[in-house]
């Protein structure tokens, strides 16, 4: 018996009309029926969260964490680990929220030796995952970067249809204060149209065109008055040569500058 694929099961759980073949299979197959039931639970959980919004803590909280962690880094060798913190639990409040099912606790000697040493590969991994750049916000990204430019934001681009990585965009501030969006992506213009680069606001309502991308790399000066905080979405669209200056609605990739 051939099972339904995951997307079909998700579609059914979302209440989309199923093809009769799939509907019949799910009604007969315990495995697929259980999958749909489980996905429906997720649907219910997500729907049930509509009344809640997340609140971000003020930035001083991160500063305090960062300072506290750094203050301890030097004394790491003598540090007894978090066995007491995470493994134990004090007080009758445990009945409220205790979820500690893990027997924990590590002796100081068991701490991985590499955790604090910045081997080149560690730095490379961190840099590749964007974490170091994200953390410091400024980086010199290679020989093609003009010496006086600093990177103020960057975004990984992903293909909207496949979610595959599709290059990157970054905002550089030049020595003269102008901001430039640098786009590097493997897409090329096709018969369907040219590739137009946009900055879009988080509601995907306001947008500004920066121009057409004509190679694997393009640089676009961001018009004065436009702020990437207010327009953080980088979008590349396919624009047919129809003379219509508005966005075609046919986006191929997007990324969020951060």
């Amino acid at each position: 018996m051939r099972h339904c694929d995951d997307e079909t099961l998700a579609a059914i759980a979302l209440g989309e009309p199923a093809e009769s073949r799939d509907a019949a299979h799910v009604s007969e197959c315990a495995t697929c029926a259980a999958e749909v039931a489980s996905l429906r639970e997720t649907v219910a959980a997500v729907s049930g969260a509509s009344g809640t919004t997340l609140v971000r803590p003020p930035e001083r909280v991160w500063e305090a964490i960062s300072a506290e962690v750094e203050a301890h880094e030097g004394r790491e060798a003598g540090f007894a680990g978090a066995a007491g913190e995470a493994g134990g639990h004090a007080g009758d409040g445990a009945t409220v929220l205790t979820l500690d099912r893990r027997g924990r606790g590590s002796a100081p000697g068991s701490r991985r030796g590499s955790s604090r040493l910045f081997h080149p590969w560690v730095v490379a991994v961190a840099a590749a995952s964007g974490i170091v750049l994200g953390a410091i916000g400024v980086g010199v990204l290679g020989p093609w970067t003009e010496p006086a430019a600093t990177v103020v934001a960057q975004a990984e681009l992903a293909d909207l249809a496949t979610e595959a990585a599709a290059g990157e965009a970054r905002v550089e501030r030049r020595a003269d204060g102008t901001q430039v969006l640098v786009v590097e992506t493997p897409y090329t213009a096709t018969d369907a149209g040219a590739l137009e680069v946009w900055l879009i606001d988080p509601d995907v309502v306001g947008m500004v065109s920066l121009g057409f991308l004509t190679g694997e790399r393009g640089e676009f000066e961001i018009p004065a008055g436009y702020d990437v905080d207010a327009f953080p979405i980088v979008d590349i669209s396919i624009e047919p040569p129809d003379g219509d200056p508005t966005h075609s609605g046919d986006s191929i990739t997007r990324g969020i500058l951060g």
Binding site: G48, P57, V96, I131, I256
Partner: protein, 195 residues
Amino acid sequence: MMGTAMATETAERGDASGDRALDLDFAAGVEGSLEGLYRSASALVYTLALRSLGDASEAEDVTQQTFVAAWRGRDGYDPTRGSARGWVVGIAKRRIADALAARARESRRLEAVKDEPVVAVADPLEREAERIMVRGEVESLGPPRSTIVSLAFFEGRTHEQIAEHLRMPLGTVKSHLRRSLMALRQGLEAADASL
């Protein structure tokens, strides 16, 4: 630069592979991973503390304690068992429980025998915690999926309205919703597993 961009996704984009990379980096104590985890989970932790404790300054304290404890105790985090985000929320819950327990002791001292069972507040809090976790997972989908899911589930828009609003083909919206649902289930399971 293309090479690195193609090889990995940033943690901040928050999709499944980015989260996974963050989990592994955090477990290995990679420089910067604590900030990555903080950016990904601090709103969850803070909101949970704020709703449970009802006090912004206490919630800030709990948030700070939670991430400091998470970093120091990262050897106890096992990335094969669940997400770092879920794990850090587990620590936060224990911190919140401690704060509530301390309060209960204090109020017992002050008010003699007004002995309301602590369990009474457990259920609504636990449900709210679940909702907050769901919100966190939705946010971690990253755009455009987080936007699409919010519009569909939280604002009750139809697929057609979303497609029009985001200028996306209807099929793309539907496909994003299906994949988001799968990712959300996986994310919530991973978070549960590491609590």
